[in-house]
Amino acid sequence: LGYNWKKVVAADLFDDEYIIANLNTGLYYSVQGTIINVLQCFPFESIDKKIEDFGEKITLVNKKKIMEVWDELISEELIDLNHPEGLLPAVDKEFIETEKKCNLSKYADMQDLLALDPIHEVDEKGWPEINATEE
Protein backbone atom coordinates (compact mmCIF):
# COMPACT_ATOMS: atom_id res chain seq x y z
CA LEU A 1 0.00 0.00 0.00
CA GLY A 2 1.10 3.58 -0.54
CA TYR A 3 0.20 7.24 -0.45
CA ASN A 4 -2.13 9.29 -2.63
CA TRP A 5 -4.62 12.14 -2.29
CA LYS A 6 -7.84 11.06 -0.63
CA LYS A 7 -10.79 10.61 -2.96
CA VAL A 8 -12.56 13.68 -1.54
CA VAL A 9 -9.54 15.83 -2.32
CA ALA A 10 -9.05 17.85 -5.50
CA ALA A 11 -5.39 18.82 -5.86
CA ASP A 12 -3.99 20.78 -8.78
CA LEU A 13 -0.62 22.23 -9.55
CA PHE A 14 -0.74 25.77 -10.93
CA ASP A 15 2.75 27.02 -11.89
CA ASP A 16 4.63 26.26 -8.65
CA GLU A 17 1.74 26.10 -6.21
CA TYR A 18 -0.58 23.25 -5.29
CA ILE A 19 -4.19 24.21 -4.58
CA ILE A 20 -5.93 21.53 -2.58
CA ALA A 21 -9.66 21.41 -1.90
CA ASN A 22 -11.24 19.03 0.58
CA LEU A 23 -14.61 18.67 -1.10
CA ASN A 24 -16.14 17.07 1.99
CA THR A 25 -15.35 19.81 4.44
CA GLY A 26 -15.10 22.79 2.08
CA LEU A 27 -11.61 23.59 3.39
CA TYR A 28 -8.92 24.79 0.99
CA TYR A 29 -5.10 24.71 1.16
CA SER A 30 -2.15 26.07 -0.74
CA VAL A 31 1.19 24.22 -0.79
CA GLN A 32 4.38 25.85 -2.00
CA GLY A 33 8.07 24.97 -2.11
CA THR A 34 10.09 21.93 -3.16
CA ILE A 35 7.48 19.54 -1.73
CA ILE A 36 5.38 20.13 -4.85
CA ASN A 37 7.83 17.85 -6.66
CA VAL A 38 7.11 15.06 -4.21
CA LEU A 39 3.33 15.58 -4.39
CA GLN A 40 3.51 15.42 -8.18
CA CYS A 41 4.68 11.82 -7.87
CA PHE A 42 1.53 10.44 -6.23
CA PRO A 43 0.87 7.55 -5.84
CA PHE A 44 4.08 6.26 -4.18
CA GLU A 45 5.02 3.79 -1.48
CA SER A 46 7.51 5.62 0.71
CA ILE A 47 8.03 9.34 1.31
CA ASP A 48 11.66 8.79 2.35
CA LYS A 49 12.42 6.84 -0.78
CA LYS A 50 10.63 9.37 -2.94
CA ILE A 51 12.76 12.19 -1.52
CA GLU A 52 15.89 10.07 -2.03
CA ASP A 53 14.93 9.61 -5.69
CA PHE A 54 15.48 13.33 -6.22
CA GLY A 55 19.10 13.02 -5.08
CA GLU A 56 20.97 16.29 -4.65
CA LYS A 57 18.04 18.30 -5.98
CA ILE A 58 16.58 18.14 -2.48
CA THR A 59 18.94 19.29 0.26
CA LEU A 60 18.88 18.12 3.89
CA VAL A 61 17.35 21.44 4.94
CA ASN A 62 14.64 21.06 2.32
CA LYS A 63 14.03 17.47 3.36
CA LYS A 64 13.29 18.59 6.92
CA LYS A 65 10.85 21.22 5.71
CA ILE A 66 9.22 18.81 3.28
CA MET A 67 8.60 16.39 6.14
CA GLU A 68 7.03 19.16 8.26
CA VAL A 69 4.55 20.04 5.52
CA TRP A 70 4.01 16.34 4.77
CA ASP A 71 3.02 15.75 8.40
CA GLU A 72 0.61 18.70 8.22
CA LEU A 73 -1.00 17.28 5.09
CA ILE A 74 -1.50 13.99 6.90
CA SER A 75 -2.90 15.62 10.03
CA GLU A 76 -5.34 17.60 7.84
CA GLU A 77 -6.50 14.19 6.54
CA LEU A 78 -5.77 15.03 2.93
CA ILE A 79 -3.59 12.01 2.19
CA ASP A 80 -4.73 8.43 1.89
CA LEU A 81 -2.13 6.41 3.81
CA ASN A 82 -3.30 3.04 2.50
CA HIS A 83 -3.74 3.65 -1.15
CA PRO A 84 -3.68 0.45 -3.24
CA GLU A 85 -2.10 2.18 -6.24
CA GLY A 86 1.00 2.81 -4.15
CA LEU A 87 2.51 -0.36 -5.52
CA LEU A 88 2.30 0.79 -9.14
CA PRO A 89 5.40 2.34 -10.67
CA ALA A 90 5.15 6.14 -10.51
CA VAL A 91 5.50 8.25 -13.63
CA ASP A 92 8.57 10.52 -13.56
CA LYS A 93 7.75 14.22 -13.57
CA GLU A 94 10.03 17.08 -14.49
CA PHE A 95 11.60 18.69 -11.40
CA ILE A 96 10.18 22.17 -10.76
CA GLU A 97 12.72 24.63 -9.41
CA THR A 98 11.08 27.02 -6.97
CA GLU A 99 12.48 29.65 -4.66
CA LYS A 100 9.42 29.54 -2.45
CA LYS A 101 9.81 27.98 0.99
CA CYS A 102 7.99 24.78 1.83
CA ASN A 103 4.73 25.91 3.31
CA LEU A 104 1.12 24.82 3.80
CA SER A 105 -1.46 27.60 4.10
CA LYS A 106 -4.95 26.75 5.22
CA TYR A 107 -7.85 28.78 3.94
CA ALA A 108 -9.94 28.62 7.10
CA ASP A 109 -12.69 31.19 6.43
CA MET A 110 -15.23 28.41 6.05
CA GLN A 111 -13.98 26.33 8.95
CA ASP A 112 -17.30 26.51 10.79
CA LEU A 113 -18.58 24.07 8.19
CA LEU A 114 -16.96 21.31 10.19
CA ALA A 115 -19.49 21.65 13.00
CA LEU A 116 -22.17 19.02 12.56
CA ASP A 117 -25.41 18.79 14.46
CA PRO A 118 -28.64 16.82 13.97
CA ILE A 119 -32.11 18.34 14.42
CA HIS A 120 -33.04 17.92 18.07
CA GLU A 121 -36.60 19.18 18.48
CA VAL A 122 -39.41 19.53 15.98
CA ASP A 123 -42.93 20.95 16.14
CA GLU A 124 -46.10 18.89 15.68
CA LYS A 125 -45.68 18.99 11.88
CA GLY A 126 -42.09 17.77 11.98
CA TRP A 127 -40.38 21.13 11.26
CA PRO A 128 -37.58 22.32 13.55
CA GLU A 129 -37.82 25.47 15.63
CA ILE A 130 -36.67 28.48 13.59
CA ASN A 131 -34.10 31.18 14.20
CA ALA A 132 -33.12 33.07 11.02
CA THR A 133 -29.53 34.26 10.62
CA GLU A 134 -28.10 36.02 7.61
CA GLU A 135 -25.62 34.13 5.42
Binding site: A10, D12, F14, D15, E17, I19, A21, L23, N24, G26, Y28, S30, Y107, D109, M110, D112, L113, L114, A115, L116, D117, P118, I119, V122, K125, G126, W127, P128, I130, N131, A132, T133, E134, E135
Partner: protein, 341 residues
Amino acid sequence: MNLKKYFSNSLNHIKSNVSVVLEDTISLGGKTAKLTTFSKDLKDLFFPSLAHLKVLSDEFIDLQLYYVSDDCLDIPFSAPNWGNIEFDAQGYASELDQKEIGVFFQPWLRQIFMYSYAENIGIYWVKSLSEIPWWEATFSFRTIFHMWTRNTPLQLMHAGAIATENGNAYLFPAKSGSGKSTTTCMLSEAGYVYLGDDYVLIDTDKNIVYKLYGTTKMEWDNLESRFSHLLPRAINLNQRPNQKGILYLESNKQFKNFASICAIIVPEVNNENSGIIKASIAHSLFASAPTTLHHLPHNRSESYTKIRKLSSNLPNFIWKLNADKKILLHQFQEFYNETAT
Protein backbone atom coordinates in the same frame (compact mmCIF):
# COMPACT_ATOMS: atom_id res chain seq x y z
CA MET B 1 -33.89 8.68 4.12
CA ASN B 2 -35.84 7.82 0.96
CA LEU B 3 -35.60 11.16 -0.80
CA LYS B 4 -37.17 9.85 -4.01
CA LYS B 5 -40.36 9.01 -2.16
CA TYR B 6 -40.39 12.31 -0.27
CA PHE B 7 -39.86 14.26 -3.49
CA SER B 8 -42.54 12.29 -5.32
CA ASN B 9 -45.07 12.79 -2.50
CA SER B 10 -44.26 16.49 -2.34
CA LEU B 11 -44.69 16.89 -6.09
CA ASN B 12 -48.04 15.08 -6.04
CA HIS B 13 -49.07 17.23 -3.12
CA ILE B 14 -48.35 20.40 -5.10
CA LYS B 15 -49.90 19.16 -8.33
CA SER B 16 -53.13 18.21 -6.54
CA ASN B 17 -53.58 21.82 -5.48
CA VAL B 18 -56.65 23.41 -7.04
CA SER B 19 -55.68 27.08 -6.78
CA VAL B 20 -55.11 29.38 -9.75
CA VAL B 21 -51.79 28.66 -11.45
CA LEU B 22 -49.36 31.50 -12.16
CA GLU B 23 -46.62 30.64 -14.66
CA ASP B 24 -43.60 32.44 -16.07
CA THR B 25 -41.00 31.19 -18.50
CA ILE B 26 -37.47 32.51 -18.34
CA SER B 27 -34.30 32.04 -20.34
CA LEU B 28 -31.61 30.61 -18.09
CA GLY B 29 -28.11 30.26 -19.46
CA GLY B 30 -29.45 29.64 -22.95
CA LYS B 31 -31.99 27.10 -21.65
CA THR B 32 -35.62 27.51 -20.66
CA ALA B 33 -37.14 27.30 -17.19
CA LYS B 34 -40.80 27.45 -16.21
CA LEU B 35 -41.60 28.90 -12.80
CA THR B 36 -44.98 27.89 -11.39
CA THR B 37 -46.73 29.09 -8.25
CA PHE B 38 -50.26 29.47 -6.86
CA SER B 39 -49.56 32.65 -4.95
CA LYS B 40 -49.46 36.17 -6.35
CA ASP B 41 -47.67 37.26 -3.19
CA LEU B 42 -44.92 34.70 -3.73
CA LYS B 43 -44.59 35.69 -7.38
CA ASP B 44 -44.42 39.38 -6.46
CA LEU B 45 -41.61 38.58 -4.06
CA PHE B 46 -39.48 36.12 -6.05
CA PHE B 47 -40.04 36.98 -9.69
CA PRO B 48 -38.79 40.61 -9.90
CA SER B 49 -35.12 39.59 -9.59
CA LEU B 50 -35.60 37.31 -12.62
CA ALA B 51 -38.16 39.33 -14.59
CA HIS B 52 -35.59 40.58 -17.12
CA LEU B 53 -35.12 36.95 -18.25
CA LYS B 54 -38.79 36.43 -19.13
CA VAL B 55 -39.50 34.90 -22.52
CA LEU B 56 -42.76 34.12 -24.26
CA SER B 57 -41.97 30.76 -25.84
CA ASP B 58 -42.32 27.67 -23.67
CA GLU B 59 -42.20 24.94 -26.32
CA PHE B 60 -39.38 23.01 -24.64
CA ILE B 61 -38.82 23.35 -20.89
CA ASP B 62 -35.40 22.35 -19.51
CA LEU B 63 -36.33 23.04 -15.90
CA GLN B 64 -39.73 23.05 -14.21
CA LEU B 65 -39.75 24.82 -10.86
CA TYR B 66 -42.66 24.99 -8.41
CA TYR B 67 -42.55 27.55 -5.60
CA VAL B 68 -45.17 27.36 -2.91
CA SER B 69 -45.94 28.20 0.69
CA ASP B 70 -48.42 26.64 3.06
CA ASP B 71 -50.40 29.88 2.65
CA CYS B 72 -51.36 28.80 -0.87
CA LEU B 73 -51.65 25.05 -0.41
CA ASP B 74 -54.89 23.29 0.51
CA ILE B 75 -53.03 20.98 2.89
CA PRO B 76 -49.78 21.96 4.69
CA PHE B 77 -46.52 20.55 3.38
CA SER B 78 -45.07 17.55 5.25
CA ALA B 79 -41.61 17.56 6.78
CA PRO B 80 -39.23 14.70 5.97
CA ASN B 81 -38.31 12.23 8.69
CA TRP B 82 -35.06 13.83 9.84
CA GLY B 83 -33.74 10.86 11.82
CA ASN B 84 -30.15 11.53 12.84
CA ILE B 85 -29.13 13.51 9.78
CA GLU B 86 -26.29 15.85 10.71
CA PHE B 87 -26.28 19.37 9.28
CA ASP B 88 -23.18 21.51 9.06
CA ALA B 89 -23.14 25.19 9.98
CA GLN B 90 -24.20 26.14 6.45
CA GLY B 91 -27.14 23.74 6.63
CA TYR B 92 -25.62 21.15 4.31
CA ALA B 93 -26.21 17.47 5.01
CA SER B 94 -24.48 14.91 2.79
CA GLU B 95 -27.37 12.46 3.33
CA LEU B 96 -29.65 14.94 1.56
CA ASP B 97 -27.25 15.31 -1.38
CA GLN B 98 -28.04 12.18 -3.36
CA LYS B 99 -27.42 11.22 -6.96
CA GLU B 100 -31.08 11.35 -7.98
CA ILE B 101 -32.52 13.90 -5.56
CA GLY B 102 -30.91 16.91 -3.91
CA VAL B 103 -32.44 18.53 -0.84
CA PHE B 104 -31.25 21.68 0.90
CA PHE B 105 -32.73 22.51 4.26
CA GLN B 106 -31.22 24.83 6.83
CA PRO B 107 -32.64 23.73 10.20
CA TRP B 108 -32.99 27.33 11.39
CA LEU B 109 -35.38 28.24 8.53
CA ARG B 110 -38.67 26.60 7.62
CA GLN B 111 -38.03 26.50 3.88
CA ILE B 112 -36.84 23.62 1.73
CA PHE B 113 -35.27 23.33 -1.73
CA MET B 114 -35.55 20.05 -3.63
CA TYR B 115 -34.48 18.95 -7.05
CA SER B 116 -34.97 15.77 -9.06
CA TYR B 117 -32.01 15.27 -11.39
CA ALA B 118 -33.91 12.66 -13.41
CA GLU B 119 -37.02 14.77 -13.95
CA ASN B 120 -35.42 18.25 -14.02
CA ILE B 121 -38.05 19.43 -11.56
CA GLY B 122 -37.32 21.71 -8.63
CA ILE B 123 -39.50 22.54 -5.63
CA TYR B 124 -39.17 25.46 -3.25
CA TRP B 125 -41.43 25.39 -0.22
CA VAL B 126 -41.63 27.87 2.63
CA LYS B 127 -43.89 27.64 5.66
CA SER B 128 -45.36 31.10 5.19
CA LEU B 129 -44.59 34.35 3.42
CA SER B 130 -43.64 36.01 6.69
CA GLU B 131 -40.86 33.44 7.28
CA ILE B 132 -38.97 34.11 4.05
CA PRO B 133 -35.58 35.67 4.87
CA TRP B 134 -35.21 39.07 3.20
CA TRP B 135 -32.16 38.02 1.19
CA GLU B 136 -33.82 34.93 -0.35
CA ALA B 137 -35.68 36.90 -3.04
CA THR B 138 -32.53 38.77 -4.07
CA PHE B 139 -31.20 35.49 -5.50
CA SER B 140 -34.44 33.63 -6.16
CA PHE B 141 -34.15 29.82 -6.32
CA ARG B 142 -30.35 29.97 -6.39
CA THR B 143 -29.96 26.51 -4.84
CA ILE B 144 -32.32 24.85 -7.31
CA PHE B 145 -30.65 26.54 -10.28
CA HIS B 146 -27.34 25.28 -8.92
CA MET B 147 -28.55 21.68 -8.66
CA TRP B 148 -30.03 21.90 -12.16
CA THR B 149 -26.61 22.77 -13.62
CA ARG B 150 -24.86 19.70 -12.14
CA ASN B 151 -24.64 17.74 -15.38
CA THR B 152 -24.13 20.73 -17.65
CA PRO B 153 -21.21 23.11 -18.35
CA LEU B 154 -23.19 25.83 -16.56
CA GLN B 155 -22.09 27.02 -13.13
CA LEU B 156 -23.47 29.67 -10.79
CA MET B 157 -20.68 31.83 -9.49
CA HIS B 158 -20.44 34.23 -6.58
CA ALA B 159 -19.17 37.08 -8.72
CA GLY B 160 -20.05 40.40 -10.23
CA ALA B 161 -19.84 40.95 -13.97
CA ILE B 162 -20.02 43.79 -16.46
CA ALA B 163 -19.76 43.90 -20.22
CA THR B 164 -19.12 46.36 -22.98
CA GLU B 165 -21.72 47.02 -25.63
CA ASN B 166 -19.72 44.95 -28.12
CA GLY B 167 -19.92 41.87 -25.88
CA ASN B 168 -16.66 41.74 -23.91
CA ALA B 169 -17.33 40.72 -20.33
CA TYR B 170 -15.24 40.91 -17.14
CA LEU B 171 -15.88 38.73 -14.13
CA PHE B 172 -15.27 39.89 -10.54
CA PRO B 173 -15.30 36.88 -8.19
CA ALA B 174 -14.83 37.46 -4.47
CA LYS B 175 -16.32 36.70 -1.11
CA SER B 176 -18.87 39.07 0.40
CA GLY B 177 -17.50 42.46 1.38
CA SER B 178 -14.62 42.44 -1.12
CA GLY B 179 -15.97 45.13 -3.44
CA LYS B 180 -17.99 43.19 -6.04
CA SER B 181 -21.09 45.39 -5.79
CA THR B 182 -19.12 48.62 -5.56
CA THR B 183 -17.04 47.71 -8.62
CA THR B 184 -19.93 46.58 -10.79
CA CYS B 185 -22.16 49.51 -9.80
CA MET B 186 -19.39 52.00 -10.45
CA LEU B 187 -18.64 50.54 -13.89
CA SER B 188 -22.31 50.22 -14.73
CA GLU B 189 -22.80 53.90 -13.98
CA ALA B 190 -19.84 54.71 -16.21
CA GLY B 191 -21.66 53.13 -19.15
CA TYR B 192 -20.68 49.46 -18.98
CA VAL B 193 -23.49 46.91 -19.09
CA TYR B 194 -24.43 45.49 -15.68
CA LEU B 195 -24.63 41.67 -15.67
CA GLY B 196 -24.75 41.05 -11.94
CA ASP B 197 -23.05 41.90 -8.68
CA ASP B 198 -23.70 38.83 -6.53
CA TYR B 199 -24.39 35.71 -8.60
CA VAL B 200 -23.99 35.17 -12.32
CA LEU B 201 -24.34 32.07 -14.49
CA ILE B 202 -21.30 30.92 -16.46
CA ASP B 203 -21.00 28.54 -19.38
CA THR B 204 -17.61 27.06 -18.49
CA ASP B 205 -17.21 25.39 -21.90
CA LYS B 206 -17.68 28.57 -23.88
CA ASN B 207 -16.48 31.12 -21.28
CA ILE B 208 -19.76 33.00 -21.50
CA VAL B 209 -21.34 34.88 -18.60
CA TYR B 210 -25.14 35.14 -18.42
CA LYS B 211 -26.95 37.75 -16.41
CA LEU B 212 -28.96 36.00 -13.72
CA TYR B 213 -30.35 38.36 -11.09
CA GLY B 214 -31.27 41.97 -11.67
CA THR B 215 -30.86 42.73 -7.98
CA THR B 216 -28.09 44.65 -6.27
CA LYS B 217 -27.51 44.39 -2.52
CA MET B 218 -25.36 47.01 -0.87
CA GLU B 219 -24.56 48.19 2.64
CA TRP B 220 -26.42 51.42 3.37
CA ASP B 221 -23.20 53.25 4.28
CA ASN B 222 -21.70 52.31 0.94
CA LEU B 223 -24.83 53.41 -0.92
CA GLU B 224 -24.83 56.71 0.90
CA SER B 225 -21.14 57.51 0.48
CA ARG B 226 -20.55 56.28 -3.09
CA PHE B 227 -23.94 56.09 -4.82
CA SER B 228 -26.13 58.55 -2.93
CA HIS B 229 -28.18 59.33 -6.05
CA LEU B 230 -29.26 55.66 -6.11
CA LEU B 231 -30.45 55.72 -2.52
CA PRO B 232 -34.04 56.78 -3.34
CA ARG B 233 -34.28 53.78 -5.70
CA ALA B 234 -33.73 51.29 -2.88
CA ILE B 235 -36.90 49.20 -2.64
CA ASN B 236 -36.54 48.61 1.10
CA LEU B 237 -35.78 52.02 2.57
CA ASN B 238 -38.23 51.27 5.36
CA GLN B 239 -36.21 48.20 6.39
CA ARG B 240 -33.02 50.13 7.04
CA PRO B 241 -30.78 49.11 8.84
CA ASN B 242 -32.06 45.54 9.35
CA GLN B 243 -31.58 44.64 5.68
CA LYS B 244 -28.98 45.66 3.13
CA GLY B 245 -30.17 48.19 0.55
CA ILE B 246 -31.80 46.41 -2.41
CA LEU B 247 -31.92 47.98 -5.89
CA TYR B 248 -32.77 46.85 -9.39
CA LEU B 249 -30.07 48.03 -11.78
CA GLU B 250 -31.34 48.12 -15.34
CA SER B 251 -29.18 46.95 -18.20
CA ASN B 252 -29.29 48.35 -21.67
CA LYS B 253 -32.56 46.91 -22.99
CA GLN B 254 -30.89 46.10 -26.32
CA PHE B 255 -28.23 43.98 -24.65
CA LYS B 256 -28.58 40.20 -24.89
CA ASN B 257 -27.99 39.39 -21.19
CA PHE B 258 -24.83 37.43 -21.97
CA ALA B 259 -21.29 38.12 -23.14
CA SER B 260 -17.91 36.42 -23.68
CA ILE B 261 -15.58 36.69 -20.70
CA CYS B 262 -12.28 38.43 -21.52
CA ALA B 263 -10.73 38.21 -18.07
CA ILE B 264 -11.29 37.35 -14.43
CA ILE B 265 -10.51 40.27 -12.11
CA VAL B 266 -10.38 39.67 -8.36
CA PRO B 267 -11.30 42.88 -6.51
CA GLU B 268 -9.36 43.58 -3.32
CA VAL B 269 -9.66 46.69 -1.18
CA ASN B 270 -6.16 48.17 -0.92
CA ASN B 271 -6.00 51.91 -0.38
CA GLU B 272 -2.25 52.27 -0.79
CA ASN B 273 -1.32 50.67 -4.11
CA SER B 274 -4.27 50.83 -6.43
CA GLY B 275 -4.12 49.20 -9.85
CA ILE B 276 -4.89 46.14 -11.97
CA ILE B 277 -2.11 43.55 -11.98
CA LYS B 278 -1.66 40.01 -13.28
CA ALA B 279 -2.75 37.23 -10.90
CA SER B 280 -2.02 33.53 -10.77
CA ILE B 281 -4.64 30.90 -11.59
CA ALA B 282 -4.37 29.80 -7.96
CA HIS B 283 -5.21 33.30 -6.71
CA SER B 284 -8.25 33.51 -8.97
CA LEU B 285 -9.42 30.02 -7.99
CA PHE B 286 -9.11 30.90 -4.29
CA ALA B 287 -11.24 33.99 -4.83
CA SER B 288 -14.04 32.14 -6.55
CA ALA B 289 -14.29 28.50 -5.47
CA PRO B 290 -14.47 28.67 -1.65
CA THR B 291 -17.10 31.39 -1.49
CA THR B 292 -19.28 29.91 -4.25
CA LEU B 293 -19.16 26.39 -2.88
CA HIS B 294 -19.76 27.65 0.64
CA HIS B 295 -23.11 29.09 -0.45
CA LEU B 296 -23.82 26.20 -2.83
CA PRO B 297 -22.47 23.10 -1.09
CA HIS B 298 -24.19 20.48 -3.28
CA ASN B 299 -22.22 18.81 -6.08
CA ARG B 300 -18.95 20.32 -4.88
CA SER B 301 -16.81 18.06 -7.01
CA GLU B 302 -18.55 18.94 -10.27
CA SER B 303 -18.65 22.64 -9.41
CA TYR B 304 -15.02 22.79 -8.35
CA THR B 305 -14.00 21.15 -11.63
CA LYS B 306 -15.95 23.74 -13.61
CA ILE B 307 -14.60 26.72 -11.65
CA ARG B 308 -11.05 25.38 -11.93
CA LYS B 309 -11.48 25.04 -15.67
CA LEU B 310 -12.72 28.61 -15.97
CA SER B 311 -9.81 30.01 -13.93
CA SER B 312 -7.34 28.00 -16.01
CA ASN B 313 -8.77 29.05 -19.38
CA LEU B 314 -8.96 32.80 -18.82
CA PRO B 315 -6.42 35.50 -17.98
CA ASN B 316 -6.54 36.38 -14.28
CA PHE B 317 -5.95 39.74 -12.59
CA ILE B 318 -6.19 41.42 -9.21
CA TRP B 319 -7.72 44.87 -8.97
CA LYS B 320 -6.39 46.66 -5.93
CA LEU B 321 -9.16 49.13 -5.20
CA ASN B 322 -8.88 52.50 -3.54
CA ALA B 323 -11.71 54.90 -2.75
CA ASP B 324 -11.14 57.26 -5.68
CA LYS B 325 -13.79 56.52 -8.30
CA LYS B 326 -12.09 58.68 -10.95
CA ILE B 327 -8.79 56.82 -10.64
CA LEU B 328 -10.53 53.45 -10.65
CA LEU B 329 -12.49 54.24 -13.80
CA HIS B 330 -9.35 55.44 -15.52
CA GLN B 331 -7.54 52.24 -14.49
CA PHE B 332 -10.31 50.07 -15.86
CA GLN B 333 -10.54 52.01 -19.12
CA GLU B 334 -6.80 51.55 -19.66
CA PHE B 335 -7.06 47.90 -18.76
CA TYR B 336 -9.98 47.46 -21.13
CA ASN B 337 -8.09 49.10 -23.99
CA GLU B 338 -5.25 46.64 -23.46
CA THR B 339 -7.28 43.46 -23.07
CA ALA B 340 -10.43 43.81 -25.18
CA THR B 341 -10.70 41.47 -28.14
